[in-house]
Amino acid sequence: MRPLEGVRIIDLTVAVAGPVATSLLADLGAEVVRVEPPFARPGTHLDVAPHVPGTPDRPYNRLVGYSDLHRGKRAVTLDLSRAEGRSVLLRLAAISDAVVENMSPRVIDGLGIGYEALRAPKPDIVLVSMPAFGRDGPLRDRVAYGPGIDAASGLSWLTGYPDRGPMNPANYYADYTSGVMAALATIVALRHRDRTGEGQHVEAAMIDAELQAVGEALLDYTMNARVQTRTGNAHPAMSPHGVYASAGEDRWIAVACEDDAQWRAICHTIGRPELARDERYADVVSRAHRRDEIDAIVSAWTRDRGPHEAAEALQAAGVAASAVQTVPELLDDPQLAARGFVHRVRHAEAGEMPHMRAAFTLAGAEVGPDAGAPLYGEGTEYVFGDLLGMSTAQMAALEEAGVARREHPG
């Protein structure tokens, strides 16, 4: 049993945040049908990312970014700027449960495929919109991707070294947090529809999801008029706390000491039992005052050891620690592997591809990723033929008119 079995979702999303949402819905068992423009368009196919090496044929089917973000979906093309294209979309909406889109508000409304248009053929449809700044307000027409939202939320300002300028957290938090938020809101809205028969328009603005994650900094300002700034790896209530150099090139270990008992455990683990009795380091306040000394003591031990070996020793003593894992290491991490975190799925032209599942397992339900990304236009027969009942001649006519394509324009 898959959680969203029997649910059909039309995916009009581009870039990253929207596809994150719909890929999770596909992983949970929804049938997700991507409707893509019938012309080559960077951003939609993420064709700025690398290709999986292979034959020179059809490289657009082996785009790494596309492969990851669209696993488990179907794909058709439709020119939504034309009435014939919109009419096919509305026929598809009539047999779907939800539509997810992240165009800028003026684009979807300008195309005439907004909520009112979509609910005409399907009164209980759920439309999930993911604007950057909101569907209204003075910034509604601004263009922004994930990192721009990180900047607008305060997260970039707050991230970095105390003695240097702001930076984004790696890989754009906003895309991934607003993507999951939109997936969650979709399921919540479908649950409400199942119980009441009511569809609705859901607005999951990227900035609104992102601002939740910096809530304590915002309240520190509204309550205390304090503007927080970058503190790097220091923690106000823990010492040692940070990232320490390990043996090996650019290798590091993260260590966090939550209380005095853990400090004593650290002292014994690093072969300095006398420090456990040293008054100068007896509690967190004194250790925080001597942060540099504490960091030097920890570093003197970590620098000659591999980060994994050191983390094992500290964890065995009850201290929170982990190697700062490299991305390739995630693919072989024993804990992630034991929990089946990375799914290896066959793609028709790119071969076996690794995909991360969501950050949870469900007992008693099957969850993906369990199918590769679609080839260009691969879903045409199924969606137009099987689902919408078009004849071969009707599909050919759509292609003839340039409203849909099965072959990439190159």
Binding site: M1, G134, G165, A170, N171, I187, Q325, V327, Q335
Partner: protein
Amino acid sequence: MTGALDGLRVIDVSEGVAGGYCTKLLAGFGADVVKVELPFRGDSLRRAGPFQADVPSIETSALHLHLNAGKRSVTLDWRCPSGRALLRRLVERADVLVVCDPPPEIHAGRAVVTQVTPFGAAGRRAAWRATEIVAGAAGGYLGMTGDPDREPVKPYGQIVGYYAGLQAALGTLAALAVRDRTGKKQTVDVSVAEAAAFLVGGALQRSAVTGRAIERNGARVVGFGDGYHYPSTVRPCRDGWVHAHSHNRFPELLGAFIQEPSLNAPELLADRLGHADTVDAALDRWLAERDRWTAVAEAQEVRLPFVEVLNPGEVVDDRLGQHRARGFFPEIEHPVVGAVRQPGPPVRMTRTPWRTARAPLLGEHNAAVYCGELGLEPRDLARLAAAGVL
């Protein structure tokens, strides 16, 4: 109008950001969330700073006010037998039980049990400890953040913890969908380290396919290979910093816009990330003559996705009026803290409004829940309180 999750009953015995954010979201969508807190001590969020006026108090922590908003609070020492018996009765009536580590030893009945732990409840490292920085390190997210010439740096605050909470809410709704259709008991096993790994995103697959490590790259876009469009970075201007981003469809737009035609030389256009220093220098010349607001307004005019880097005060002060127009920072009245502006709804739904409400006082709903719903007498409450159970 009622919330989308109206009628859903959630018991939350978790502590910390991840479980707290999970149930904050469920409460915002309309669920009845009862936070079960240890007597006197309360949820760990209540004891984490910053506090109002920097005076520690169990009612005035920013994390508590933000993350426990919209919930009810009862006190209960569920580690002792009579406390566990009461918790069992609460859970019997619930749809969802959210726990962290260690979980209470009770039979959850028909409730979906969502457990959030640092490394997941199964696997050899299930017993490993983690804090935000350690979970970020284990998941590979920390190692991607920072300057190439310095140590990796932890992103602000507890954003990995928040992310695990958001994922936990998604898993909970998925499990409810299965339970509602099959009637079978469901458990959700959430790993904070996996949430950090999920944030690595497409870099995992890119690394697997190209065989390359993913190197930290400062403010610049991380983990893409040669030929990737650029800029996507943070650069200084007259009064601060701007996030500068190229146009994904028209990479030549930037050079034309800032009147740096050399950026559109073919070898540069073919590999902008490989020429990032040159692009930055050109951007810096243009930005040096502008403040954030002017630079971004001019760039947005031609659809270049530039955005001002705002500090948290500037986010709330909202010079451009976006949040004000949308009522995003509602002022919420709290009996101890007074009126405080807080982040508003992450999601807006036309038929089922988000519930915006204050955080509860510790044990504020003891009488309502234990007497009103479980049928205890006031004298039972007094007896349990005297025994330290409530």
